[in-house]
């Protein structure tokens, strides 16, 4: 099944979650899904692949191309080709918000700043190096120290009034710092938002290394955290694009990469009809 009727699957095997997207060759998203990566990378990717087929009502023979991305990409042996999540996030940001020139992708253990051109192709990028400070793990550590789950951690920080200072140089030490602030009687909201601002400072530092050119699109799992979005905007002094789909940025970009290779299309943006706010399945 070829032409505009075919389908491509993008699988993003990340450190915490594996995300997947089924896309039609015209760029329409047919289904999305997410599962914990766990220790068996191929198994979780395979499980996700079959769940996506079921959701989309498709069989394997309908799929023209499977593209893997993320740290586990080379273990997705049923895929046709692999692409780094850096290239994938660039394509996805352009697809979701075509005026994007700078992408911030914040995942479980990686934060990436990516500069892209008018077609979503990568010009330059910078990443955190061998340290998880300033990534999703940092949020997990801060939330754990405060006895919150990640959903609570997303909302509660919005009520901060006088955020505390958290040094943000080390995820492990940040946990201790959070506890010290608790012991000193600081409000939970102020501690949490203080941690977010710490992370945002590091992320903005990365963004400045590649040069911040509007619009900025915030992707990856952490982009669903409302408190974090606010902290990034406050630190960057500008609005950033996010949507329920930005957490699927890697998988969307992988699918787009597949479509580009199959069809030779130079540029793919989200069809206008699909641009309305939508609910996306969560784990």
């Amino acid at each position: 099944m070829m032409g505009e009727e075919g389908y491509v699957i993008g699988v993003d095997s990340g450190s915490t979650y594996t995300k997947g997207v089924v896309m039609q060759l015209d760029g329409r998203i047919v289904a999305t899904d997410i599962t914990m990566t766990g220790i068996r990378i191929l198994e979780s990717a395979n499980r996700l692949y079959h769940a996506l087929l079921e959701k989309a009502g498709l069989s394997e023979s309908d799929i023209a191309y499977v593209v893997g991305t993320g740290y586990g990409r080379y273990q997705i042996t049923f895929g046709h080709v692999q692409v780094t999540e850096i290239s994938a996030h660039g394509l996805a940001a352009h697809y979701l918000f075509p005026r994007t020139h700078t992408v911030l992708d914040m995942g479980g253990q990686d934060t990436k700043a990516i500069r892209i051109n008018d077609k979503g192709e990568v010009i330059d990028f910078a990443m955190n190096d061998k340290c998880a400070a300033g990534t999703g793990r940092f949020i997990e550590a801060a939330a754990r120290a405060l006895g919150l789950d990640l959903r609570q951690a997303s909302e509660i920080a919005l009520n901060a009034r006088r955020p505390v200072k958290i040094t943000s140089t080390c995820t492990v030490f940040a946990e201790t710092e959070v506890l010290e602030h608790l012991a000193a009687g600081e409000r939970l909201e102020d501690i949490l938002y203080g941690a977010y601002l710490g992370i945002a400072t590091r992320s903005v530092g990365l963004l400045r290394r590649v040069g911040v050119e509007p619009e900025v699109t915030f992707q990856g799992g952490v982009s669903l955290n409302k408190g974090m979005v606010k902290a990034v905007e406050e630190t960057l002094h500008m609005k950033v694009n996010t949507s329920p789909l930005t957490m699927y940025g890697g998988a969307i970009g992988a699918a787009l990469y597949g479509i580009k290779r199959l069809t030779g299309k130079e540029e793919i943006v989200m069809p206008t009809a699909d641009r309305a706010p939508r609910e996306v399945e969560s784990a």
């Binding site: 099944m1 070829m2 394997e60 023979s61 799929i63 023209a64 191309y65 499977v66 740290y71 049923f78 046709h80 080709v81 692409v83 780094t84 999540e85 850096i86 290239s87 192709e121 990568v122 010009i123 330059d124 990028f125 990443m127 190096d129 061998k130 290779r261 199959l262 030779g264």
Partner: protein, 435 residues
């Protein structure tokens, strides 16, 4: 699922594992024999009671030591050899056990921990004797002085210090004031008179000229070999292979065998070029490299580039013992020419000159981009590399910056390294219109 993949694979495992056919890779074999012989000769000399000198790769006046029949050991070289063979970690731990910090240069740590009293002196290439004298050519690296003090502390070696002024005048390209040359030349004369007393051998300018004639010959052929990287496609990898080929110009410069070796290398590269043989199955990308390599995972690290059929066309690291592009030895003025050579060590150049050299490589060697490998241990080499990156990106030259260490294996993460390298090639491929 139907296999309808279009477009050829831009990277492949075959390319990653590719080896140059044996008949076109004899220079590496010959060199490893000569390097082994060098280590044997040094060990034999020490066993006979000869004085042994330790020297630094940067700015080493090997010709003068040759004149006094003093074999030179280079701790940087045996450290990288140990690391290349996978033996660095125990030395890092042994040095740290003696109180050297985790942040201390890993060359220093392995260089000190490999020899008695901390280590045994046994290396993958043979026995390394302890120093009787340590010739400190203080150029470009501030740690050198403290490293050599450590040799004095542990072995009682006598230290000879030669201070090398930086090349600091950017406006007059490659200009070195005469008084700087005189400053180094006077120090060399002082060392010579001390070596006369130490060895009982009289200084002979005529013999020094003879040694330098071999040096100049090897140097010219070394330059010719490296300039083969200008050819499209290039027959050699001007970074990963050049790093192998730079061993003898560092270790044994100044004799006929070394001069002959570089002739042999040029011939082999010429044969490669004629047969269309290169370091990868084909040439998809041409890169300029800045920085010291990762030795503990050298071949794995190289394969991350080979996988994309990428060839290094030029690099600054193979010039660390002297910027061969600009400097020529003049045997007629032996002391002055050695002094000038010492001043023109790559890390002794100011940052603007270094940036210009890289830009020259990008243009003259028709490179697609620049790879900067920063190492945790060495700030004298890595300092300013962030600025280099901004400089090149500002000129629309694709530039990748990656980081690990040259000796300490604990700083290398293949998944992170590969992610960055793959992403760089993906964007280079788009730029070149490769699908």
């Amino acid at each position: 699922m139907s296999a309808t993949a279009k477009g050829r694979a831009l990277m492949s495992e075959e390319a990653a594992q590719y080896r140059v056919p044996k008949e076109y890779n004899q220079a590496v074999v010959l060199q490893s024999q000569l390097v082994r012989k060098y280590f044997e000769d040094v060990a034999a000399a020490a066993a006979k009671g000869k004085k042994i000198a330790y020297g630094l790769v940067e700015a080493n006046p090997i010709e003068i030591l040759r004149l006094f029949d003093i074999p030179v050991v280079y701790p940087e070289v045996f450290s990288l050899q140990i690391s290349y063979k996978g033996g660095a970690l125990p030395l890092m731990l042994a040095a740290e056990n003696e109180g050297y910090s985790t942040d201390c240069c890993s060359y220093v740590k392995s260089g000190v921990a490999a020899i008695p009293p901390i280590g045994t002196g046994q290396t993958p290439l043979g026995y390394v004797p302890k120093p009787d004298i340590a010739v400190l050519t203080y150029s470009g690296c501030q740690i050198y002085i403290h490293w050599w003090e450590q040799y004095h502390y542990w072995t009682g070696a006598k230290i000879f210090t030669i201070d090398i002024p930086y090349v600091r005048d950017y406006e007059r390209d490659h200009y070195v004031p005469r008084h700087d040359v005189r400053y180094v030349a006077d120090q060399l004369m002082n060392v010579i008179s001390q070596l006369e007393q130490l060895t009982g051998i009289r200084y002979s300018e005529e013999k020094l000229r003879e040694i330098l004639t071999y040096t100049a010959d090897a140097w010219d052929h070394w330059r010719m070999a490296l300039e083969m990287g200008k050819r499209v496609p290039t027959p050699l990898d001007g970074y990963f292979e050049a790093i192998y080929y730079m061993s003898l110009i560092t270790l044994t410069r100044g004799d006929k065998t070394t001069a002959d070796y570089y002739r042999f290398l040029v011939d082999e590269l010429q044969r490669r070029a004629e047969a269309g043989i290169g370091p990868t199955p084909e040439e998809q990308f041409r890169l300029v490299f800045e920085g010291v390599p990762n030795y503990p995972y050298y071949k794995d690290w190289w394969s991350l580039f080979k996988r994309w059929n990428a060839r290094g066309v030029a690099g600054t690291y193979p010039k660390v013992a002297g910027v061969v592009d600009y400097f020529r030895f003049n045997p007629d003025k032996p002391i002055e020419t050695i002094a000038e050579y010492m001043i023109h060590a790559y890390c002794n150049w100011n940052m603007l000159m270094r940036a210009d050299l890289l830009k020259y490589y990008v243009d003259a060697y028709k490179a697609d981009g620049v790879v900067i490998h920063s190492i945790k241990s060495c700030r004298s080499f890595s300092m300013g590399q962030g600025d280099f990156k901004e400089y090149f990106v500002g000129m629309n030259i694709p530039t990748l910056m990656i980081e690990s260490d040259h000796v300490d294996p604990r700083y290398y993460s293949e998944a992170q390294m590969r992610n960055r390298i793959d992403a760089f090639f993906e964007s280079l491929a788009l730029r070149k219109g490769l699908k």
